[in-house]
């Protein structure tokens, strides 16, 4: 099981800015180890975000995204107390979901 994400969601006016840090190796499949063997690709390929259970964002990622990715987006109509859920799936089928409350 992967390490938890860090999610911060702050409301300002009629929208909330969500900032997410994900813990993931994000191996591109292009790198070689010390012995010259290719390190197999291992990266997040699907990201989704939901506001109080309703999906507001989906993204397809690939091997070009950095290790420990940082994602920032804005949700219209979100207010303090609402719940933001962020989920990802990687190419090995590993999954992670975390939730934060809008402040």
């Amino acid at each position: 099981m992967a390490d938890p994400m860090r999610i911060r969601a702050q409301a300002a006016g009629d929208k909330a800015t969500v900032r997410v840090l994900m813990a993931h190796e994000m191996e591109s499949g292009q790198r070689k180890d010390a012995a010259g063997k290719t390190i197999p690709a291992w990266y997040i390929n699907e990201v989704s975000a939901a506001l109080n259970g309703k999906v507001v964002l989906t993204a397809e990622w690939g091997p070009s995204v950095s290790k420990n990715p940082f994602l920032q987006f804005v949700i219209k109509g979100a207010k303090a107390g609402d719940k933001v859920q962020v989920s990802w799936t990687d190419n090995k089928g590993d999954k992670r979901s975390d939730e934060a409350t809008v402040s």
Partner: protein
């Protein structure tokens, strides 16, 4: 989005063909883009959990660990290290002190941890611990004690180590860090013989390195300095690493600590 910063950085590359000021500006801009969402936070969160987790043969947490401000006091400890500890009769930096606590409180094998490669096993836990403990003093100013005779002696030994030239390239720490306004390629080099400023040099480590996606504590930072100096291998938490930390830390008196910082 992280990979957008890369795209933005790449877009800035054509600008490199202009004056070198532009190149430096582009790099500054790239670093500013990185500063939002420092992955060091992931390590900090893990470190806080580790501090409180019952682990090791004694199934105990680190919450009674004395980092110099009393048992369990974490806030403010980082900016006062390395310092003299009566129980070990040694001047210790954060990492050598954590080794002491891990062995006395938790029953873990300090010698085995010191021999473990960086980023593996308990060393990976060490990275998280130093990220959190340094973050607890973020914004405070460096104020290493120089009261005990052993602390003063370590400053003097650290100074000598800093200027010691050796190896096939005749390098010392001072070759790169002995003057103001120098660079290796485009990497600015802080002058560590004095206070180089807030959040620069000693006051910026531990740090997350974007290029390798790793969290480096001061031990690893110094280890890589010595690798580039073409020196032999400094032992983890060896006296020379602690003496150098005393020298740099005392010189940085009054500098604001921004650790864990983010580096290219």
């Amino acid at each position: 989005m992280k990979h957008w910063s890369w795209v933005a950085a790449l877009a800035l590359l054509p600008g490199l063909a202009c004056a070198q000021k532009t190149a430096a500006d582009s790099i500054a801009e790239y670093r500013a883009l990185l500063a939002d969402g420092n992955p060091a936070e992931l390590f900090e969160a893990k470190g806080e959990d580790l501090w409180k987790a019952k682990r090791g043969p004694k199934n105990a947490s680190l919450e009674r660990c004395d980092l110099g401000q009393g048992a369990g006091v974490v806030k403010g400890a980082f900016v006062r290290l390395p310092r003299w500890f009566a129980d070990t009769q040694r001047v210790q930096d954060l990492e050598s002190r954590l080794l002491t606590c891990m062995s006395t409180l938790q029953g873990l094998d300090a010698e085995a941890i010191a021999k473990t490669p960086f980023g593996k096993g308990e060393q990976a836990n060490m990275e998280a611990l130093v990220a959190w403990i340094s973050a607890e003093s973020r914004g405070q100013r460096m104020q290493l004690p120089q009261v005990h005779a052993a602390e003063q002696r370590m400053y003097e030994l650290g100074k000598r180590a800093f200027f010691f030239r050796g190896g096939p390239m005749d390098f010392s720490c001072a070759s790169c860090h002995g003057e103001d306004g120098k660079r290796i390629r485009l990497q600015d080099l802080p002058n560590l013989t004095k206070n180089p400023g807030d959040g620069v040099g000693f006051a910026a480590w531990p740090a997350y390195r974007v290029s390798s996606g790793e969290l480096w504590g001061m031990q690893r930072r110094l280890n890589d300095c010595y690798r580039q100096q073409r020196f032999p291998y400094p032992g983890y938490a060896s006296e020379v690493t602690i003496a150098l930390a005393v020298y740099m830390g005392v010189n940085a008196k009054g500098a604001e600590s921004i650790a864990p910082a983010i580096k290219r």
